[in-house]
Symmetry: C2
Subunit: 335 residues, 2 copies
Amino acid sequence: MSPDKILLSHGSGGKATHHLITQTLLKRLANPILNQLADSALLPYEKKLGFTTDSFVVSPLRFPGGDIGKLSICGTVNDLVMIGAVPEYISLALIIEEGLDYAVLEDIADSVAETARHAGVWVVTGDVKVVEKGAADKIFITTCGIGRIVKNRPLSVKNIEPGDRVIISGTIAEHGLAILAKRKDLGLGFNIKSDCAALSGMIIPVLKKTGNIKFMRDPTRGGLATTLNEIAASGGLGIIIDEARIPLSPKVRAACELLGLDPLYLANEGKALLVVAEKGAEKVLTLLRRHPLGRNAREIGTVVKKPSKQVVLNTVVGTPRIIDMLVGESLPRIC
Amino acid sequence: MSPDKILLSHGSGGKATHHLITQTLLKRLANPILNQLADSALLPYEKKLGFTTDSFVVSPLRFPGGDIGKLSICGTVNDLVMIGAVPEYISLALIIEEGLDYAVLEDIADSVAETARHAGVWVVTGDVKVVEKGAADKIFITTCGIGRIVKNRPLSVKNIEPGDRVIISGTIAEHGLAILAKRKDLGLGFNIKSDCAALSGMIIPVLKKTGNIKFMRDPTRGGLATTLNEIAASGGLGIIIDEARIPLSPKVRAACELLGLDPLYLANEGKALLVVAEKGAEKVLTLLRRHPLGRNAREIGTVVKKPSKQVVLNTVVGTPRIIDMLVGESLPRIC
């Protein structure tokens, strides 16, 4: 029997912690490595690895299309996929506020387990801390991920050259808008769902079938505009984007117009931005579109030598506009 | 120029985040892997690996003998060492409360960097989230660690047999007592310092020089009593401990008597509990004592077949006492 509320004793390292770990987490996440409940997980690896971490502090915990548990697996899985690694092992560290409904934790653990199963990863080690009421907001989750690099060929921004094509794997701005609508109780009537999804199933097969992908990144916080700017800045190149080609669902377009929001700066949690050699762009698009998550994949732009380190948007009205990184904060705690 | 306060925009993923990462973290933690600021770190590994995570929510952030930054590296380094892994790569995820003094973050980053250097590990990937004022208490840190297993021989509780000796690497209860004294402003006049330390320098050479260590664990939350119970329970064996042999500094003994606290349940952050084959116990003790952190190492008990899954303390007054895991919470947020 689990108690109704998370108590301070759930973070004490004693019996209540043991109960929480075995009854709430291990029961859902069991695998031969995690089952050992050792302080560290032993990974039977012999290849180059990807290793990543992300904390998740999303508010509200549950939103249309996902929750913090799903997000904490997808986010880390996607970070691995973006450097060309096949996600395999995940660590899960929870910071929980005293007084959280135990059922909320169970729902989150269910969601973590289901998402991990779906993404083909194992949670192999973890930690639980509980802080006093008011010292955290319900629950924060930090995951780490480890994955083997596909064909020992990690992707790098250094591979990018003028002429390369920029591809986005689907419609943008859905996660940011879903969180905003839910949080502000906007009652838009648009019913916009977060795109929160693990990208391994879509991306890894493409990576294995073509050598033409040069770099990838998932446009999360700061949106597509910020990610494009990061690529332009670190690659020392320019990027020209064709606004008319950016895939946007009619709902999202309508909501953004109504609210005066720029979808280019809204977060995505299930999209990949790919930079691909010109000759391989068509094949990559075809492969992406074979997967349900990639049906709306589009080529949206081109890498150019100049203007260096800038992103230029050719707008639908025909004028070019320089788009910058996100300045200030748009919407805190979207992930 | 860094600003005075952490703002919500430091967690936005935009320019302020970039500034925080490059100016505050990367400047202190630079290495060829982290410098790439990719979403994941690429690890050039070919051996069996240890992988661990821990969140740190200690309050106060700074205490005699350490701070949350030092703790967040030592804790994860020690978890790796305990399974027989040489710690090499660390991830660092920060959840920061809006309004935190920027100087506090800089001090913590200094401490992380110094401790990592001292322990011979690289922080290779990380994340920063900022939550609104009141949604977290100043700062929480989650680290993950990866390390290569020494000689491909991971330690396991399954190796433990009756007759094995139990060794503690030094005096106990210092971390728990230091936090308690600082937090309650007890003004004990004892000036007790936390034992917070990375154990790799002491333990790894011993592991390499002897095959007699069967299992190790660091007795953190829940103290020595809880850790001994975990070993007895998962090994299906009993442990007899001789109270008179447990190393305790005079200061800690006096403070515990004054406050009515049992040092067996107070946390340690720089001690290892080792289970060693009888024939190797003397050699392991000799090797431990060569290192400054192991000068007070003592053999404190023996593994027995029965009473199974129990820990019996032969007290200084001559009576045996069964000691259980910590029940309830002793002192929240000690790590």
